[in-house]
Amino acid sequence: MTDPKAALGAPLARLEGRDKVTGRARYANDHTPPGSVFAWPVPATVARGEITAIDDRQALAHPAVLAVLTHLNAPPLAEAEDPTLALLQSPQVAYRGQYVALVVAETLEAARTAAAELRISYRSERHDVVLTDDHPGIYAPELANAGYPADRERGDFDTAFESAEVRTDAVYRIGPLHNHPMEPHAATAVWDGDRLTVYDSCQGGNSVQQTLATLFALPHSQILVISEHVGGGFGSKGTARPQAVLAAMAARTVRRPVKLALPRAQLCAVVGHRAPTVQRVRLAARSDGRLHGVAHEVLTRSSTLSEFVEQAAVPARVMYASPHSRTTHRVVRQDVPAPSWMRAPGECPGMFALESAMDELAQACGLDPIELRLRNEPELEPDSGRPFSSRHLTDCLREGARRFGWYPRDPEPRRRSRGRLLIGSGVAASTYPVYVAPSSAEVRAEADGSFTVLINATDIGTGARTVLAQIAAHVLGVATDRVGVEIGRSDLPPASLAGGSSGTASWGWPVHRAATALREDLARHGEVPAGGLAARAATGAEDLAASRSFARHAFGAQFAEVQVDMDTGETRVRRLLGVFAAGRILNPRTARAQLLGGMIMGQSMALSEHSTLDPEFGDHAERDLASYQVAVHADVTDVQAYWIEEEDPHLNPMGSKGIGELGIVGTAAAITNAVHHATGIRVRDLPATPDVLLGR
């Protein structure tokens, strides 16, 4: 009865594909409940200060304008965990771009016009927005993001460094980076008495439901969050964001459904971003390349409202064997927009620095960079001493070298050219931890022979629907076309958010468990009763704790070939190839898409994404998609992703690791390492734009 197509590991096409290519797939703002009106948010125009007066007469004079919400009249909100959600609750301004008003009108046009006509006066204070290495406000936080201890020391790094045969010591800088999912954060909110429905563009409906319940002091059961289709998030939709809260506030005020899409150029200030990092990496090695000490010291910044510490030094605790190590995080709180999660927080910027440093060390030791990494492969996780549940970095490096055609390679920079173009190749490793969170699911059998998976998972483009159908079909031993999936509603069995590459593991586990229970029920019943049969299951802390004795991470190796035009400084990636080890690949079609997408975002970060925190005004200067340049079609020529078979019994019933973030980790270093091979120029500050390569 098992259809081979049902087996996990089949390249099943996305279940919602037809809806997506016909325009039928509906995203948050594609819903227009009868009577809908429109909201337009107004950002603060000072970086620090206080609102002293609001003149909304001109705005309200438009007949189509229904309300202007400000801290003076907005519905009060209870305190939430995230201080950036205390929207319109006080006259204080903590950063430029913070929302200070919301205009609601019958039409989008009127709302936008009125928003421009609001006159808001401020008493502004001097702002502090320039990140310097010696800022007096720098302090040592207790924890970095995701709960890692900020500082770890092992052995005696200083002595190790002093006495090393070979040393590298360099500082790597990455400016702010912006998630910019193609769907801007949007919500459509409808109140029915004391019941609130929000179509929200988010990565996890239950967390939004929870936050809204807190803010509006309502029981969960009165809040329904729907996120059937979500146009990407990359971390910026992992928590409730202003659009859901503001839309709900406005809808309550005007007693009409409210549609709100945050304007693209406002996103940088209000939905988080990757914080800038200044990373000093020191490597101490023997002349044969064996590491003796590793120090990775990170300086980053957060807003005055909240502490968010980009955990960039954390991968150095995982990657390479060395008896002495120091990994630290320092942070300074400034009058800037609050940073937050962006695809592979920590690993992505951290591995740019570490893997660049490894390339520098390879050069210093006269070693092939792959060989250097092979020589430093640890037995146990260096920082914790725990065994790896599985680790196949060396296989990825070897397999990647073979597929890429790495060897033979003349390590000498600036030796290869084609016309005026210098050509070079580079490699870097990638890693990402295994996260998993408690979730619950229901699987139903209907009398007509069909099955339904019910779980409040969110498909932000990962293919969640599809893989959950596969998991259920696999367990039930039926063809996948008999399995329907309902996700993206908070009245479904609650589930964790689509973040930390944890979705498939977190959701698949209870689906697996529920399907298993259902299969057993079915076996007992023989036949599905007329009313159908359902089984529900959840995972809890005890499931997740079972494997804590292992260090669990996915690994990969990224290879890049670049060309640099020395007349113009233009770098183009000719080839990008990654080989990954991420447990069992449940759907090669959607998995490849995730890995390629990550690599492409990594390329974009390496070469063109450039954001400046404007010292005078305190906002990000490049806020739109013309000035903040993400990779376009023409940038992406030949990108390939492969994986090696990895069996790991310490993960989850499917044997999978997360893949959504792994692909972006290491890409930038592979590219700038290739730029060095091509030109002899070491790019330590991203992005590697023409000005960077031309001036040197």
């Binding site: 016909t22 797939a25 999912p181 079609h633």
Partner: protein
């Protein structure tokens, strides 16, 4: 002369005629989405910078977010909803399915409309920045051609490789 802020506009959308009294400020994108309920075209940036709002106006691809609806009076507009013939997908739509040319799907309607427009442009022998000047029409659509011609459509998910394969297949 009489000055009013709204105008009677005749639009043909996906083969259907509409007579609408429109606020002069309305963009074609907002009219499609909020007045006609055609939410296929997406608003990714509202400033011509992402391509998510791409539709075909008299057969030519354009960013509907920068077109004032009032200025499209008498024109014929095709959105992603108007490409399929009943249950039969347009070849570009089918190719997107076959090549997994999307992830979140938000850029997809714009990519598809843009591809339909780009294929017609190439068939008509219109050059791109990478077209060999010596090339006689129609321009063969290889990888570099497709990538250059599709560069007005951003995809933050990075579905580019699949999109290019899909367009290549639809071109052949």
């Amino acid at each position: 002369m009489e000055y009013t802020f709204s105008t009677e506009v005749a639009l043909r959308v996906n083969g259907e005629d509409h007579a609408l009294l429109l606020d002069n400020r309305s963009t074609l994108l907002d009219v499609l989405r909020e007045r006609l309920g055609l939410t296929g075209a997406k608003k990714g940036c509202d400033h011509g910078q992402c391509g998510a709002c791409t539709v075909l106006v008299d057969g030519r691809r354009m960013n509907s977010c920068l077109l004032l609806a009032v200025a499209q009076h008498g024109r014929s507009v095709t959105t992603v909803e108007g490409l399929a013939e009943g249950d039969t997908l347009h070849p570009v739509q089918q190719a997107f399915l076959d090549h997994d040319a999307y992830q979140c799907g938000f850029c997809t309607p714009g990519q598809i409309c843009s591809a339909v427009g780009a294929l017609a442009e190439a068939r008509a022998g219109r050059p791109s920045a990478v077209t060999d000047p010596a090339e006689d029409p129609p321009v063969p659509l290889d990888g570099p051609e497709i990538r250059e011609r599709m560069s007005g459509n951003l995809c933050r998910c990075g579905a580019y490789p699949g999109i290019v394969r899909a367009v290549m297949e639809a071109a052949s």
